[in-house]
């Protein structure tokens, strides 16, 4: 029986819940354990209620767990809200207790922090106490703190002392299911979703990112910003999302790979620009980190409500790619691939993630490959018989026209968002209009050939759970639960969503199998899409749309209701 512990740290916004959680995750990662942590917070800077829930295991974990082994309550409300999730032998750490059961320990975080040299270290006290209960060797915590504060020796000293006081405060207390800490090498990297996307952009040599701040998409841009010192990367915060998308279109036109990231509301503002990228055949990459909507919706919560929106966003018809990665390693590779394919086919590519993915912390031992070279799909004067005759929108069988860059030679690059002739000049000619619409949409055949089929997990099962994007880990764990209970269930999962890989989907689903979609929206948008593209209908839908991520047990129970 493997180890599987969940620690929940809760309190008010501004109390440093994330700091405690991140420190713990770093210690566990360093010790060779696997972690998966979700970040739950309100749309406010101070007060309210937030929590960081970290699952620690000696096996890979890709989903949050619904039961808590250790609850660190930085305020009373955390205890009241979450004590019913505690396992029977769970432990609670609180600053002040009020005669609760013996598993509720009073740890005066702030008093101990004061002793260590300042209230600011109370997070370190809390992390210390929690790690001590898990039985984590102090040495590892010490080295994590040294890495964090090493440059400021006074601060480090204070934190080390706080850590020690935290450790001592729970001396003799341990979880019944305590870990065996046998110093293995770290399992892959400790990384959140946002960072994996930004790293993927670097791996595609993306050099410009323009954005308007919007939760939960800002993390991607914050990471890009952190690269701008050591890489040729410019990140510009702009006046609105309309400016952001037009700016990256301009940058791409001039020859530099560019991206933006936003959430649903910002994506709404970008839709006209998306169409501009479509008709001008300018490659761009747009990250949509979904949150519940419409309009402002729930700014800091999660959702998969934008699938049908992004595959159709903007008026009229033009090809685009839509990808929804499920893990950091996949997000890294998918983002890099999105840039490459956007440029190869001269179309916009959309990466559809969500708050759950962006703000969650994973240990991922995926490869994160670094390309030796970057293939650019551009031409110059030397590739042309006569640069003076260059036509940006030359009609070709593949629909892909040679793409030259402005001011890089004699060839004049004429681009227009109006319908245009092969040379880029505006035209209302009816034959030309039809030819240009045909040319643009002709790319779909090639694009379809680039799509990876959905991933199969126990695909020979009688019942299949079908999901997309961030929920793969949750669904696979639900499948394991169901199989343990004797239910013959498997799953298939989509990363590449558009153009829709209909052939592969038909092969997987059209075997008289019952399939159920699992989605974080109200209407089963992938289910609708599958029906539209393959004619196959799902037998049911397991949906969660309260803004919170799925727990595996909810998926398993959702299916069992159908089977009753």
């Amino acid at each position: 029986m493997g180890l599987d512990i969940t620690v929940k740290i809760g309190g008010e916004a501004g109390q440093g819940i994330q700091t405690v959680g991140t420190l713990m995750a770093q210690v566990c990662h360093k010790a060779g354990l696997h972690v998966m942590a979700i970040n739950d917070f309100e749309s406010r800077i101070r007060g309210g209620h937030s929590f960081f829930q970290i699952r620690i295991s000696d096996k890979p974990v890709w989903a949050p767990h619904h039961r808590i082994n250790l609850l660190v309550a930085l305020d009373r409300r955390t205890f009241d809200l979450h004590c019913d999730q505690l396992v029977s032998d769970g432990i609670v750490l609180m600053a002040k207790t009020a005669g609760e059961e013996e598993n509720v320990l009073s740890i005066p975080f702030e008093t101990l922090a004061d002793k260590a040299g300042g209230k600011i270290t109370s997070n370190t006290v809390a992390a210390g106490a929690s790690l001590a209960i898990l039985g984590a060797p102090f040495e590892i915590f010490k080295s994590v703190l040294s890495e964090q504060f090493g440059k400021k020796s006074d601060v480090l000293k204070m934190n080390l002392s706080a850590a020690e006081l935290g450790y001592r405060s729970v001396k003799g207390v341990s979880l019944n299911s305590g870990f065996l800490w046998d110093f293995a090498d770290p399992k892959g990297r400790l990384i959140d979703g946002s960072r994996s996307i930004a790293l993927g952009a670097l791996a595609a040599d993306c050099r410009i990112a323009a954005f308007y701040p919007m939760s939960p998409a800002t993390g991607v841009m914050a990471n890009m910003n952190s690269f701008s010192r050591d890489f040729p990367v410019v990140v510009e915060q702009v006046e609105d999302e309309i400016a952001a998308i037009n700016m990256i279109i301009g940058a791409s036109f001039a020859g530099v790979r560019s991206m933006t990231s936003t959430s649903g509301g910002g994506f709404c503002l970008m839709t006209e620009g998306l169409g501009l990228a479509g008709i001008t055949e300018t490659p761009i990459v747009v990250v949509n980190a979904q949150r519940p909507g419409p309009a402002t919706g729930l700014p800091t919560r999660t959702s998969q409500g934008d699938l049908q929106f992004v595959i159709r966003a903007a008026q009229d018809e033009f090809p685009r790619f839509v990808f929804a990665p499920a893990s950091p390693a996949e997000a890294y590779e998918t983002t890099a691939r999105a840039f490459r394919l956007a440029e190869k086919y001269q179309v916009p590519a959309i990466i559809l993630v969500d708050q759950f993915f962006c703000d969650s912390l994973y240990t991922d031992d995926g490869p994160f490959p670094v390309p030796e070279t970057i293939e650019r799909f551009v031409v110059g004067d030397k590739d042309m018989a006569n640069a003076g005759d260059y036509k940006r929108y030359e009609v070709t069988p593949s629909g892909i026209s040679p793409r030259a860059l402005p001011c890089k030679g004699e060839a004049l690059v004429v681009v227009s968002g109006n319908e245009h002739l092969e040379d880029g000049h505006i035209s209302e000619d009816k034959l030309n209009r039809a030819a240009m619409a045909d040319k643009r949409n002709a790319k779909v055949a090639g694009m379809l050939g680039e799509m990876t089929p959905p991933r199969i997990f126990h695909g020979n099962s009688e019942i299949l759970l079908v999901g997309w994007g961030s929920t793969e880990g949750v669904i696979q764990e639900a499948v394991a639960m169901l199989q343990n209970e004797g239910v013959d269930a498997g799953s298939i999962h989509f990363n590449d969503l558009w153009p829709f890989p209909a052939k592969a989907t038909l092969t997987l689903l059209d075997q008289g199998k019952k399939f159920f979609v699992v989605e974080q929206n109200r209407t089963g948008q992938l289910g609708q899409l599958i029906r539209q593209e393959t004619g196959l209908s799902h037998a049911g839908a397991i949906l969660k749309y309260d803004g919170r991520p799925f727990y595996p047990i909810e998926v398993a129970e959702g299916l069992k209701k159908y089977l009753e």
Binding site: A210, A243, M247, G250, A254, V256, P406, V413
Partner: protein
């Protein structure tokens, strides 16, 4: 040597006969020839409207984009390759109406480009509605009771936002306009040139004759455009006398000068280096 023939385009012009845009196009070509800039060294970015069609009527690299969005698009191109010589052709509706937010931000960023706003106080392409620069009270089919908003003053707004080159031209004075455009292109930073032009189809008030009677040339007045307060006062002069020329000019650090990584060359010219990413992903152990 660059000649005006280099800029000749046989693409069918789509403006009304007598449109002020013809004067602006001629002045633009004249300025480019005098500055000896060949077509392949110019990028024209435009939004939507009659003015925004300008790049199709001469030879150059062109991005004819969305209504109001020329400036952010041009800014992106400039970040990617700050060696580009960019001219934005916009109109009063495009730049000050739909694109107002971008107009403010582009000035605040001080992006090194030349912004020509063909200002005829009406929406020509949609048949004559009032634009942001229409004078209060101007009657159109869609504003039968007259415009009820204050007229937008682009020059005053640009000045208070810190623009380093604020000028006004008149489509009816080609030579003067060419000189202003040449100065604008030479200026480092954003150069706003608001160009008064008649709309022969939809503006029966601000006609060629109406302007001709009122405009006076600041070059002839020996006006020195280095005083912000004087410039602000001039920017508000409207009615019987309307100044044309450079109201204000001051060199300031432009946007791309402030971005550290661009000092090592244009983003476009930089080499991809897999080692850097390798080091970031897998830091060498110390």
């Amino acid at each position: 040597m660059v000649t005006v023939d280099d800029y000749y385009s046989d693409f069918e012009n789509k403006w009304c006969p007598g449109c002020g845009n013809f004067g602006i196009l001629a002045a633009m070509k004249d300025a480019l020839v005098k500055l000896e800039i060949p077509p392949e060294k110019i990028v024209m970015v435009s939004g939507i409207g009659q003015a925004a069609k300008t790049p199709h009527f001469l030879q150059c690299n062109t991005f004819h984009g969305l209504h109001g969005r020329a400036l952010p698009l041009a800014t992106g191109a400039k970040i990617a390759n700050h060696d580009l010589n960019i001219i934005v052709n916009s109109g009063d509706g495009d730049c000050y109406g739909e694109g107002g937010n971008h107009f403010m931000s582009a000035i605040r960023r001080n992006v090194d480009l030349t912004l020509l706003v063909h200002d005829n106080k009406v929406y020509g392409l949609t048949k004559g509605q009032a634009s942001p620069t229409a004078d209060r009270g101007m009657v159109t089919k869609m504003q039968p009771q007259g415009v009820m908003m204050e007229s937008f003053n682009p020059l005053a707004v640009a000045l208070v936002l810190g623009a380093g080159f604020v000028a006004r031209g008149f489509s009816g004075n080609m030579e003067h306009l060419s000189r202003v455009i040449q100065e604008g292109i030479r200026h480092k930073g954003i150069s706003l040139i608001d160009i008064l032009q008649p709309c022969v189809s939809f503006n029966s008030v601000n006609t060629f004759g109406w302007y001709k009677k009122r405009v006076y040339d600041l070059f002839e007045e020996d006006y020195v455009p280095d005083d912000f307060d004087k410039a602000l006062k001039l920017s508000r002069e409207w009615g019987d006398k309307i100044p044309i020329g450079i109201l204000y000019q001051k060199e300031k650090p432009c946007f791309t000068d402030g971005i550290a990584t661009l000092q090592e060359g244009t983003l476009l010219s930089r080499e991809y280096d897999p080692k850097r990413l390798q080091n970031l992903l897998n830091p060498p152990t110390t």
